[in-house]
Symmetry: D2
Subunit: 135 residues, 4 copies
Amino acid sequence: MTTTQEMLRTYPADLGGIDQEALARCIEACFECAQACTACADACLGESGVAELVKCIRTNLDCADVCTTTGRVLSRHTGYDANLTRALLEACATACKSCGDECGQHASMHEHCRICAEACRRCEQACRELLASLG
Amino acid sequence: MTTTQEMLRTYPADLGGIDQEALARCIEACFECAQACTACADACLGESGVAELVKCIRTNLDCADVCTTTGRVLSRHTGYDANLTRALLEACATACKSCGDECGQHASMHEHCRICAEACRRCEQACRELLASLG
Amino acid sequence: MTTTQEMLRTYPADLGGIDQEALARCIEACFECAQACTACADACLGESGVAELVKCIRTNLDCADVCTTTGRVLSRHTGYDANLTRALLEACATACKSCGDECGQHASMHEHCRICAEACRRCEQACRELLASLG
Amino acid sequence: MTTTQEMLRTYPADLGGIDQEALARCIEACFECAQACTACADACLGESGVAELVKCIRTNLDCADVCTTTGRVLSRHTGYDANLTRALLEACATACKSCGDECGQHASMHEHCRICAEACRRCEQACRELLASLG
């Protein structure tokens, strides 16, 4: 069991009808993606061809911020607000889609972009699956 | 001129057709609201009747996180992504509405909730005005 | 290999003499601890005896913020600033020690505090080991 | 009165012997600097000579993160932890000094770097003054 799953298991009240596996997967994907995007923005800055990676860096920075906030909001269950959860999951899936597409365009040139694009796609899918499970 | 306005004025490229006054107001409202919500969550923790403020604290924490991320994303103009901007502004207006309503319910009892509710409403309005100006 | 390790492996320039295993462990511990502390603050809010957990919640919120920032700064290698890295690792070890101690006091009562305390201790140790390896 | 000052004034318990003016100034400087550094990193990305601004961008990103976390921690007074406050103020002054120096080197070429350097210096000074007032 991961720490995220343990924290869900030990929450002191009922989590409602939420799909706990989908929730844990989404929280973990958000934190993983936030780290990958932060590192990819920096790796792009370290490339000699940084001028061609300007849009990629910006998209990475946005995606890191949105994933961090989404991962935090999803880690809270007390006084749950379905409207905000949905709106943030939509925004997070949008950020991950943009960043996955942008990094994907540089994947054959830069391995860090390939790995980051994979993290973005996992996170986008985890957000969409959690959204779907919310009904 | 505020620092936020100065930073917009000195951005080295065209900002597109965006309403710069609405943008500066929204960025500043996001940072102000993030600070107010962080402080209000803490002030609620300092109240003897903290048990009745549990939902207020949670809403404050979410709102602080969403406003921080929105203020950051709005501060970036390179490689602008209209879809993400819109989705985040929607999420931020949602968070501010929830938090303004929740804090508003405690405004007559707790002055910090009254002041925080005002910051939330300013930020919600700034998000909606910027959304409207995006067309 | 974790995504964090893959991102380190594919960084396009030399990482200097840094101990990559200690670095990866510390980055991962920071993100794990940030999630655990965010969730523990919320779990404390969900307890009927929230009034006795006020200090624990505050310490969790601080620790989550410091770990998030430390994890991000450690994920950047371009234009490395040894002074800032050291100062932040000191601050992060301090935050994790405080939070681990505070959560540790509630560990027998609240399982979420026990799990969170363990994440804090892992992160504190990872920060201290990375600090030591920096010489 | 600013919202930050109002939130301090309405905190429900004693703030200890802390210099409230120095505290409010430091919180506001942290949020202002976080915004300026986020915008300056982006403005640097928008420059045709981005390759020469790589270190500046990285320093801006670190400084934005550290200032955000410091501004949040300083906004909390419940269960105050002097050790963490001191360690973070040291880290924040270090980040602001690095970023102010780096942006200062580009100030004659790029107005956004000049304005950001001023925000960094104000924040560094506010951190050092608050540190001194803590005794």
